[in-house]
């Protein structure tokens, strides 16, 4: 995979087979490097106009069922990637889609009339159930399995015509397929695949997407796009470079009034960019240019009009310049503080992740030890296990997560924390030293008791 891929904002490690368009996402996800510095704009790696659509697939990671599934599917997904090796640096963006996977498996018939609320519980179950019936090796089916969300969007026929319109204008070959989709959402698709009728639509859709990868960006669903307003099914995350290309294209076509979306799209030549994206961007562009010409100095109704600045009731007569200076000061401070806060938050989570990994490693080691010395009675641990309920592996990491964080923290940050909770660090070191198996199974609510027990 070309290294020029933009890093995807959505995590796809436990990638569940997704919407057809979102298959592009997983390759790019592998490119994702350090979560601490999430780069949604790896423009440096691309020379020029790289935009990307975002997949907001949100996989619920707890699903154990999925992990094996995703590992099966990952290989099939790889084969579906759109070649990213375009030399001009333009790469295919990930496409926005939303998805949630959950553990529930009872199958429920997919119904188009289902409202959103019931959709979440029932159709998700159905949607989850779907992949289990699908031979994973089949790419098409893998595609379709993630289509739960898009199905919902299919059901919202108000959105489709507008959206499908774009397609029809651009690519006639799509037309018959889309019409078929629009009309027969519920009709079982005579596909030669082993699919449930409800999922056949998804497969059908996925096939189409495969044929027209450049335009498949649209198919991703956004659950919030329920309003009939110009809601895009896929969202393009614009970058300054893309905008530069846009402006250049508009200029070449004779200005924002004369340029057409189609023309701009062709000139920009950004893979994955759709005419819909260009349309909406052009609209924004025109508004931004027109307003300043309309009313001098005011370009947004949300902004304070100049009149208001002069009406600022300053006890000290500051003047506009001073007022603006003050405003800048405050804004700068806020910005700085937000940056600091964000970095702290990132670090905290990085720490937590680290500790979780460490703890899991330790657990494995302990497991091995137990297997080796299973006959040796573990006196200290048995009273502990009476106190605490044994719980699955998952819970253990949760317990250790919190006490252990302090040990890794920077002194400046955690000085207050450490002072406040002297017990926790001690407990954590005890845990590590003793490698107490009983302790590891403590549910979070009983942590206080556990700490008392150990430190006594």
């Amino acid at each position: 995979m070309s290294s020029s891929l933009p890093v995807l904002p959505t995590p796809l490690e436990e990638k569940y087979p997704k919407l057809p368009n979102s298959f592009q996402v997983s390759a790019e996800m592998k490119m994702m490097t350090n979560p601490i510095s999430p780069q949604a704009h790896p423009l440096a790696s691309n020379n020029g106009t790289v935009g990307y659509m975002l997949s907001s697939d949100f996989v619920f990671p707890k699903d154990i069922n999925l992990s094996s599934f995703s590992s099966n599917s990952s290989s099939s997904q790889n084969s579906l990637f759109i070649p990213q090796s375009s030399t001009n640096g333009v790469s295919l963006p990930p496409i926005s889609s939303s998805g949630i996977e959950i553990q529930s498996t009872p199958s429920v018939t997919f119904s188009r009339e289902r409202k959103e609320n019931s959709w979440c519980t029932d159709s998700l179950k159905d949607f989850l159930d779907f992949p289990e019936n699908v031979p994973i090796q089949n790419n098409n089916q893998v595609e379709g399995s993630g289509g739960g969300m898009s199905y919902e969007d299919c059901a919202k026929t108000t959105d489709w015509p507008d959206w499908a319109d774009q397609f029809l204008n651009d690519d006639d070959s799509l037309e018959p397929n889309w019409n078929g989709l629009l009309i027969d959402v519920d009709v079982p698709d005579p596909e030669p695949k082993v699919l449930k009728p409800s999922s056949s639509v998804l497969t059908h859709q996925s096939e189409i997407c495969q044929h027209h990868p450049a335009q498949s960006g649209k198919i991703s669903a956004i659950p919030n796009s329920l309003s009939p307003a110009p809601s895009s099914k896929s969202r393009m995350r614009w970058t300054p470079e893309m905008h530069e290309a846009f402006v250049e294209a508009v200029k070449q076509l004779g200005g924002s009034e004369r340029a057409t979306p189609k023309g701009i799209l062709k000139l920009m030549n950004v893979e994955g960019l759709t005419i819909y994206h260009v349309k909406s961007h052009l609209q924004k562009y025109r508004t931004a240019r027109y307003k300043p010409k309309l009313s001098e100095g005011t370009s947004d109704k949300n902004l304070t009009p100049i009149g208001e600045i002069t009406s600022l009731d300053l006890k000290m007569s500051m003047g506009i310049t001073e007022a603006l200076r003050l405003q800048m000061e405050v804004q700068k401070q806020l910005h700085e503080q937000l940056e600091i806060q964000r970095n702290l938050q990132l670090r905290i989570e990085e720490q937590a992740k680290h500790l979780q990994m460490m703890f899991e490693k330790q657990e494995k080691m302990e497991d091995k030890k137990l297997k080796v010395s299973s006959s040796i009675p573990d006196e200290p641990s048995s009273p502990i296990s009476n106190v605490m309920q044994p719980s699955p592996v998952n819970h253990t990491s949760k317990v250790s997560e919190q006490p252990h964080v302090a040990s890794g923290f920077d002194a400046e940050e955690s000085s207050q924390n450490v002072e406040q909770k002297q017990k926790a660090p001690k407990t954590s070191s005890c845990e590590f030293i003793n490698q107490d198996n009983g302790m590891s199974s403590t549910p979070p609510t009983k942590r206080a008791r556990a700490e008392n027990f150990l430190s006594s």
Binding site: L8, P9, T10, P35, A40, H41, S56, F58, F60, P61, S98, G99, I100, I102, Q103, C120, T121, L124, I222, P223, N224, R235, W238, T239, P240, H243, Y285, P292, D300, N302, L303, T304, I306, I309, S311, L312, D313, K315, T321, E322, L326, Q327, M328, E329, V330, Q333, L334, H335, Q337, L338, Q341, L344, I348, S397, K398, Q402, Q416, P443, P444, T445
Partner: protein, 259 residues
């Protein structure tokens, strides 16, 4: 409910168009309570409740993403426009321009200055929006795990970190560019007594402008960061402002409009 209150305050103090784009913290809290109220229930319903919770969270995140990217796109466009405006004024009325004219230059630049400062403010407010929603998510996930003994928080938050609405690098870059543009085009003129006097006297600000919002945001940020009863290793330390007098000296004059 402390964060919930702060969030509510923030929403009231934010730009009108943004008010419905924030995290539905209260609703999520209610859901968490519902989930935990029946711990002994059959596995099936617990899973279902969790699924609902996750579904809501995902919806919220999608809402954030959509709004954030929309704003970001606008910022990109406006940034370019402002740059062009400034450049054209410099080219026309500037010292080396086509028609050097100090009065015209000042006049036009004056208008631009207001716009660019507000633009800067809006971008920072978007960053604030991103952060406060993230904070809310982190808190609600923590509550969820605590209540249900689940392990949803860590992996979920890892995903959140990578979401578009939280990856604010571009906006941050634009903010910094804006700052340097302002510094370059509107060089700061140090007034001797002015700065100190400003800090000593209370400043009243009226209106619903960006300025008000940013001050409010800063204050809210400070409040949220105060130590709480659940202060833990995951908590952020209290906010330390380099210039605490700055915002302390600012008061709001007009009442908060109820929309």
């Amino acid at each position: 409910m402390k964060f919930g209150k702060r969030l509510k305050q923030q929403i009231q103090e934010t730009l009108p168009d943004w008010r419905d784009k924030f995290l539905a913290y209260k609703d999520l809290k209610k859901l968490v309570k519902l989930v935990s109220s029946s711990p002994a229930v059959v596995n099936g319903s617990a899973v279902k409740a969790e699924a609902e919770f996750v579904y809501l969270l995902n919806n919220e995140i999608e809402k954030f993403n959509a709004f954030f990217m929309e704003q970001e796109e606008d910022f990109i466009i406006r940034n370019k426009e402002l740059q062009q405006r400034i450049q054209s004024v410099i080219d026309k009325w500037g010292l080396n321009g086509n028609h050097p004219s100090d009065t015209n230059y000042r006049e036009e630049m004056g208008k631009i200055r207001k716009d660019i400062v507000d633009f800067h403010g809006e971008m920072v407010l978007l960053e604030n929006y991103s952060n406060i929603n993230y904070t809310g998510l982190a808190k609600i996930l923590k509550k969820y795990d605590k209540r249900t003994g689940g392990l949803l928080r860590l992996p979920f938050i890892q995903k959140v970190l990578q979401q578009p609405f939280f990856t604010t690098d571009l906006v941050s870059k634009l903010v910094k560019e804006c700052e340097s543009t302002i510094d370059a085009v509107f060089p700061a003129v140090k007034e001797e007594g002015g700065v100190h006097e400003r800090e000593q006297e209370a400043i009243t600000v009226v209106g619903e402008g960006i300025f008000r919002n940013t001050v409010a945001a800063l204050l809210t940020l400070q409040e949220i960061r105060r130590g709480s009863s659940t202060y833990s290793h995951f908590s952020l330390p209290p906010l330390i402002l380099p210039d605490p007098d700055l915002i302390q000296s600012i008061q709001f004059h007009s009442p908060i409009p109820i929309v």
